[in-house]
């Protein structure tokens, strides 16, 4: 079969860093081609070359048998290549319909036509979003869907999905897979980038694995399995992903939450976490997990209920209070909430506990800071050029380690991880699991929120499952399974319908 687009021997360097060292990649009509690899392997760079966002130092792009010479993204779009980026490029104050047709809006807008056309695109792919809704008010998962609809509204011969399911719940991710299959049936070439390998195996026809800017290989999906792909990505088997837990003693009760509630989002949640214990908080996206975490951290107001730390009731009005009490939060949105991305690694690492690196007049002791943070980054095996470099120069996994460094430096008693490995590559994931285990072994109480069930099963001592703002149940290791977890998470849907009158 002839390829729609062929990339031949693509090389790209940034300064001295070789991002791509001669990569070959091709996309055929009517196939779903997964592009896999750890963060920093060069996937995004390769797709930027394909999309005309950057130009390669060497190599050729062949479209329909002819060498293409892109001057910018517009040229790539003109040849039918559409990109759906991980980072949303939406105008939050405009409606869904306006966003979908942004860039193609007529001089005089006929609202009825515009909304109908947008409605058709959304309906065709089975999304339940109104074209008149304001994008900024939608949950992030639905915003992602608007972004996808935007690409689908245009004539496309190749569509690149760059980690589209990172923020989607299981149901939406499945719908997305159906769309990919529809596109494939229409003869579109689909490129699918994702860290969720189980999902990739559901739909992909072929897989290409990149490692350190080189192609490890391209294989048909039916000839391989998850374990082989992982070993291609990192050169080790999957069983190595969850590190052995160190001997950990479960101590006294550190956190106790009583009847915590806010509006309809969180409905009277009770639980506790002990020192040395890793407790998972599972459930679907939007079930109130993040809200619980933010309330315990003082970042969101508490309407009802009490939070106790070491038996003492806390009055939390801001994260400032929480951090002083010894509560740490590694937030879900790393770039928006976790790090000051343009600022140096060391500045981010010391931000939560600047008292340790300042004298009594507030002057920063730069040498102490550099020494302490160098020590800490070594301990975390953080891969960086220099601790004075901005966090933006790091890969996702290493950025996450900076947030970890911040809390390790601050040294609290309770640490809450909200989606600790989102957008983090397999190798770094494993390291982060090791660090979480280590923190528990050091006597901290750990609460982990995650949408990846395997992650919870791999590291937690027990898992609390939330659904519709309430705690639905608890799982202990013998009961760890997708079925049990989903049963608790989804059963609440029925419960809510039955109990609607009680609210």
């Amino acid at each position: 079969m002839d390829a729609l687009v062929q990339l031949r021997g693509i090389k790209k360097s940034y300064g001295g860093v070789k991002a791509l060292r001669g990569v070959d990649f091709d996309i055929r009509p009517g196939e779903i081609h997964a592009l896999l690899g750890e963060n920093g392997a060069g996937k995004s760079t390769l797709m930027k070359v394909l999309g005309g966002d950057i130009s390669a130092n060497e190599g050729t792009i062949i479209v329909d048998g002819k060498t293409a010479n892109y001057r910018g993204p517009a040229d790539a779009k003109a040849s039918g290549i559409q990109m759906i980026h991980q980072e949303l490029a939406l105008a939050p104050d405009l409606s869904v319909a306006e966003n979908i047709y942004l860039g193609a809006l007529p001089t005089v807008i006929k609202w009825r036509d515009l909304n109908r056309a947008a409605g058709e695109v959304l309906d065709r792919f089975g999304f339940d979003i109104g074209p008149r809704e304001i994008v900024g008010k939608l949950p992030i998962a639905l915003q992602q869907i608007v972004e996808i609809a935007k690409a689908l509204s245009k004539k496309a011969r190749i569509i690149v999905f760059d980690e589209p399911t990172a923020v989607l719940s299981g149901k939406d991710a499945e719908r997305l897979h159906e769309i990919m299959l529809q596109l494939r049936a229409q003869g579109v070439g689909v490129v699918y980038i994702s860290h969720r390998l189980d999902e990739v195996f559901e739909v992909a026809d072929r897989m290409t694995v990149l490692k350190d800017g080189e192609t490890v290989g391209t294989i048909d999906a039916k000839d391989t399995d998850v374990a082989q792909i992982i070993s291609m990505m990192v050169g080790r088997r999957m069983s190595a992903m969850f590190p052995e837990k160190p001997e950990t003693e479960i101590g006294h009760e550190v956190l106790r939450v009583e009847n915590l509630g806010r509006g309809r989002k969180v409905l009277g949640v009770n639980f506790s976490v002990r020192a040395g214990e890793i407790v998972g908080l599972g459930g679907l996206v939007g079930s109130g997990r993040t809200e619980v975490a933010k309330m315990i951290f003082g970042a969101d107001p508490i309407e009802t209920g009490k939070v106790y730390l070491n038996g003492e009731e806390l009055r939390l009005k801001s994260p400032h209070d929480a951090v002083r009490a010894g509560i740490n939060l590694l937030p879900e949105d790393r770039k928006g909430e976790g790090v000051v991305i343009d600022f140096p690694i060391k500045v981010n690492s010391t931000m939560a506990m600047m008292g340790k690196i300042t004298n009594k007049f507030g002057f920063i002791r730069h040498s102490t800071e550099s020494r302490d943070i160098t020590e800490l980054t070594d301990q975390l095996t953080l891969k960086c050029g220099h601790i004075g470099d901005p966090v933006s120069t790091l890969s996702g996994g290493n950025q996450q380690k900076v947030v970890l460094a911040k809390w390790m430096f601050a040294g609290g008693e309770l640490i809450i991880f909200d989606e600790p490995t989102r957008g983090v590559d397999v190798g770094a994931k494993s390291e982060i699991y090791g660090l979480i285990n280590q923190m528990a072994a050091d006597g901290k109480a750990v609460l982990v929120i995650s949408s990846e069930h395997q992650e919870l099963f791999g590291i937690c001592d027990r898992i609390l499952v939330m659904g519709n703002g309430a705690l639905q149940g608890e799982l202990l290791p013998p009961d760890f399974s997708d079925e049990n977890l989903l049963h608790l998470a989804m059963a609440s849907g029925v419960a809510e319908q039955n109990g609607a009158n009680d609210v």
Binding site: P319, V323, V340, D342, V347, M351, F361, S370, H386
Partner: protein
């Protein structure tokens, strides 16, 4: 320029490699200033004389210079303070009001003026920080209030400092090592601000707030307190500029600093600070203020009529910004 290879293997901490784009971004303001000075020197005979240089510095000190420091702090947190010109006028009037009309001694009067400036800034700051009102709107309101108060306390008439305020006017015309006292004061303020921004926890936090306020808040830092404080600093420095204005002219006047906020913002922005917060430095801000000062001086020396001068100032601001943006664009 070639990117030098950095040796220094003996150092415990490895030096960062030379970054051309970063170098240009850092020193482009200085480059513009240098070009302007060279042009001015070649164009006129009088520019590069000690007398004229000190004159420029004195004008900068009494005009935009000191206020630019406060504005820099505010802009670093991604805010804006439109009230500085009005608070300057209020400072100038209160100088006369407290010391001449209320007959308060200068040792209490001056701190009282500064405290009044701080109070104005605190009102803006508290509303911005704790009620999340936009700084643009809140400082616009304070701009009207402070100007109004300056008219109220002066009853629309200039207050002559005269004998009671002799110490102030002596400061305004005084010199130390042949350099005017206001210039020393400005230098002192810039040095303190530079140290604060680069070497203290406070400076680091306000820059970080401008870059990503939420991340700073979620690091457990009491963000509102820091945000409010920058407006207080700006208010105090604006009042200081008001005192200097009074010291130079010998009167407290409500007509001081009309439109000054725009020149002050221009100085900070020409100095390379980003209105999106998080980026900017004290030295570049000083150079930004000096660029505006040298421009005015150059036009005076070259005999450009006053009305035309305003037009050219606008052109210069636009050109400086253009250079900045084209330079930072090279970076990407």
């Amino acid at each position: 320029m070639s990117s030098k290879a950095t040796g220094g293997t003996s150092e415990v901490i490895e030096k960062r490699p030379f970054d051309k784009a970063e170098f240009i971004e850092k020193y482009s303001t200085f480059g513009i200033f240098l070009i302007l000075v060279v042009v001015a020197t070649l164009w006129t005979d009088t520019f590069l004389t000690e007398r004229n240089m000190l004159n420029v510095l004195r004008q900068v000190a009494a005009g935009t210079g000191i206020m630019a420091v406060g504005m820099l702090f505010v802009i670093l947190t991604r805010g804006i303070d439109l009230s500085v010109g009005s608070i300057q006028a209020l400072g100038s009037v209160l100088c006369g009001y407290y010391i001449v009309q209320l007959d308060i001694s200068i040792w209490f009067g001056i701190p009282l003026v500064l405290l009044s400036g701080a109070a104005c800034g605190a009102i803006t700051g508290l509303f911005v920080a704790y009620l999340s009102l936009p700084s643009f709107v809140m400082s616009l309101a304070m701009m009207a209030m402070a100007r109004g108060l300056s008219l109220v306390y002066s009853q629309g008439q200039p207050i002559v400092l005269g004998k009671a305020g002799a110490a102030i006017t002596e400061f305004g015309s005084g010199r130390f090592l042949n350099v005017p006292m206001p210039v020393w004061l400005m230098a002192f303020i810039f040095i303190v601000a530079g140290i604060t921004l680069n070497f203290t926890k406070y400076g680091r936090i306000i820059k970080a707030i401008g870059s990503n306020e939420e991340a700073v808040r979620l690091s457990g830092i009491n963000v509102p307190r820091y945000v409010a404080s920058v407006y207080v600093i700006s208010g105090v420095l604006a009042a200081t500029a008001g005192i200097i204005a009074a010291s130079r002219t010998g009167i407290g006047s409500s007509q001081v600093g009309v439109g000054a906020e725009l020149n002050v913002i221009a100085a900070v922005v020409i100095g390379g600070a980003s209105l999106m917060g998080g980026r900017g430095g004290v030295i570049n801000t000083l150079i930004g203020a000096l660029i505006l000062g040298v421009m005015t001086n150059l036009m005076n020396l070259a005999g450009v009529p006053g009305y035309h001068q305003q037009v050219w100032m606008g052109v210069i601001i636009a050109v400086a910004m253009l250079l900045h943006f084209s330079v930072t664009k090279i970076k990407n």
